[in-house]
Symmetry: C3
């Protein structure tokens, strides 16, 4: 993935652009192009560190930093009060992981290999956890959409915090489950390279550096959202549900596709489903807690997001149960994503 290294050139370019007040749409595109290689660098640094820290802490670091870019962008959107963009990007990440990433992996992998197999047991576990997580997430929303809004305003922030606490507790328990009590079923081997390429100092320096730069770029990106939306007539909602998740997850997406092309469908599927799970059980509650520092954000998604979430998760469960994929399954996942994207774009 050398091309990702060259893309780092967009980092200084965006600083120039910010200084010279280039127009928002250009800045949005440039910061997006800068964030993608930074996110990849952060992922690489995390993996290097896990060589020194041992598999347990390494697994934890990978799990926690896996959606760090997403979290940082959302944090700045939250700070800017763009709640709708934040929530749309949460839903969009899950939808994008399941339909776009998994779809592209299955299509491209399936063109190369007639059928690809994955460890059904591991995936089944994650997929069912995802189903429960999404159901947990949608229950407060569904209740609220059917109640009189006037009755709600005062109480539903409290409910959001309670649900967020439950979510993060489940996240912690799921780490206990996969790193302690049932670690044997998660024996998928991610790291074939047996030795680190970087020194531990370099790895930590890169991790810190990439995180700081992603933070800065995210601030540029978020500040471009509103003026860009107005300028080119795109809804902020579309930016949140389609564009931001693609930017935030691009590095992961490319890894999943590379794995599918290497016929390691296990890893590709685990990235897509595991990442979705983390967004719901870790990123979302953390954002709810962080929002308490500014203006409390509720956990209530709108109907579009709910329907898209529930459908995506049903599809993930359907796909997971047969333990096998082919190009046609990839086409179907991409088609559903395309219809969702077109519907959001047109409406």
């Amino acid at each position: 993935m050398k091309i990702l290294r060259y893309m780092l050139i967009f980092v200084p370019i965006t600083f120039v652009g910010e200084f010279l007040h280039w127009e928002p749409t250009l800045m949005f595109v440039l910061t997006a192009l800068a964030i993608i290689p930074l996110a990849a660098l952060m992922g690489e640094a995390t993996e290097e560190i896990s060589f020194y820290s041992g598999p347990k802490i390494g697994g934890f670091l990978n799990a926690t930093f896996g959606n760090a870019t997403e979290l940082i962008i959302s944090f700045f959107a939250l700070k800017a009060g763009l709640f709708e963009v934040v929530k749309a990007s949460i839903a969009g990440s899950v939808i994008g992981n399941i339909l776009l990433v998994l779809g592209a992996s299955m299509l491209l992998g399936g063109i190369k290999y007639k059928s690809q197999h994955f460890n059904q047991k591991v995936i089944d576990n994650s997929a069912s956890m995802l189903l429960f997580a999404v159901i947990g997430l949608t229950i407060p929303a569904i209740f609220m959409h059917t109640l009189d809004p006037a009755l709600l305003s005062t109480r539903y922030e409290g409910l959001s915090v309670i649900v967020a606490v439950i979510m993060i507790l489940i996240y912690i328990l799921s780490l206990v489950f996969s790193f302690y009590t049932h670690k044997d079923i998660y024996s998928v081997d991610h790291s074939q390279e047996s030795s680190p390429k970087w020194s531990i100092k370099k790895a930590i320096a890169v991790l810190v550096g990439a995180t700081v730069l992603i933070g800065l770029e995210s601030e540029f990106l978020v500040s471009a959202v509103e003026p860009m939306s107005e300028a080119i007539g795109l809804s902020e909602f579309f930016v949140g549900i389609i564009l931001i998740p693609i930017i935030g997850n691009a590095a992961e997406h490319s890894t999943a596709i590379v794995m599918a092309l290497k016929n390691k469908m296990d890893v590709a599927v685990e990235i897509a489903i595991g990442s979705s799970l983390q967004i719901i059980l870790f990123v979302t509650p953390v954002l709810i807690f962080l929002s308490l520092l500014f203006t409390p954000m509720s956990i209530v998604f709108n109907e579009f997001e709910l329907v898209a979430l529930v459908f995506s998760v049903l599809i993930a469960n359907r796909v997971a149960t047969d333990g096998e994929s082919n190009w046609m399954e990839g086409v179907q996942l991409l088609a559903v994503y395309l219809i969702i994207a077109v519907a959001f774009f047109v409406l």
Copy 2:
């Protein structure tokens, strides 16, 4: 199925009826009785032609003409501007195939055989394709039902056409999948008779003749819908969702049941699920395109249809995953169909 041949007597009777302006309810019943044997004849002719054309083109012809009756009736309903009837009959065909046809097959087959088995892999493939197709179909509808109607009117016909294009592309790709890249998993043997009964000329003549007559009968049928609804107080919606699908699919239905009684549950399940899939991926987009010749019809189903569609497809997926059926499963499918029919009738 000799009785189907004798039923052809209703064809001339309906011409007399049309000429003498018999009352609409009688005409509706008579044309329904005339369409059933014509549809069976069309199916037979298609199968005969496939002996001469070889399995690939034969499979394609079978797939395309399988829902031709449905398509012809809908075309005339479309031309008459009966959009609600057309959409109700699309939803009703899917519901009818899954709940009524599959239910009756499983019940009757299950009374004869304690448990019946089918190739889970093939069915699983079709059932998951059906899930994706229905999700694709419901997404625009769900979005539209939650938006302000005033905002929509100008844009949603465009969205309908886009979704229709995506659907038909997936249909074409699914033919590539099942006739080229993965034809080996679809090795269910439909045609045991190793030689044709008709000459190719006769087969083509019968196919053309049956198609023309179905066209004429469909015009009689459709023109009876409105006055009949008024006369006997049945909603047009009920006619569309329950009666028309039964008429249009009667020939196929009886084949599925005959197969179940021969303990060929594979074929019975494939007819029900495959036919549903074709209605969504082929008949629906073709009708959307045809409607552009008259008044554009949107792809947006009403809430009843959506709920019934999603539930039917969830049930089809549930049934498909265990690869086995018994009479009690048949009873349950029929019970759900009965509740839907009664609810539509009462409401």
Copy 3:
């Protein structure tokens, strides 16, 4: 379970309380504590009787009396015109059985045993039957929520009775299925004790006595619901959906957990899913019929109940398909229950 015997002391206490007009919240708690051991006693008596009656009638008695407590409480709520409480407690029983009972069984059993297995075929059968039953139950409700209420009032009681008749017919057919035509697949051995502990006379006397006492206690309980709700600011809906099902099913719940701790996950899962099935196919229609004696009750659930029912059943089906459980699955089921309970409590 000796503690259950000692709890019978609450029976005379509640009689004293009723006589002295103790305050409703106290009475609610005391009658709840009295009903729990009575329900256990009723269960024990039914099991004793089945030693004398042979397995077929025994199975039928167990199935019928399994939810007798639930039915008796609901009957008195019905008589008191508390329709919302009755319907909430039906939905709450299903939700509680699947999420609370199954969740607690899987968590506690899973802490003791790393993974527990159950006969997937039997459970799969029940889970799919449950899916169909819930879909059947929700169809009229969903249709009605989307129609103009003014149109409905006169017709939907008729529809409720028709649906109730279909449900009870399916219940009878399901008994035929599991006790006659397919009894071999239900060969889970419930009764290891090969000889009865009580004489048939004693068993019948206990059954009659417990039933009468549960009836009386239920009347006390129901008459405390309204004043208690007002006094402590709990909605009647919360009482119906969370508290009453816990009281009515406590005896069954403890059996399921005991079975899970003995690593008999088969029995635990069957209690939870089988009991849910019985509530929908037997208790609900019986209540609809009984309501015709007073004021007809419709079978239409509200949106909250519908969503919670459909989600619970999807989860039950998800859990059933893998034939295996662990503590993390238990945690997830309990988390969904907790979120539902908190949402109902807050809203």
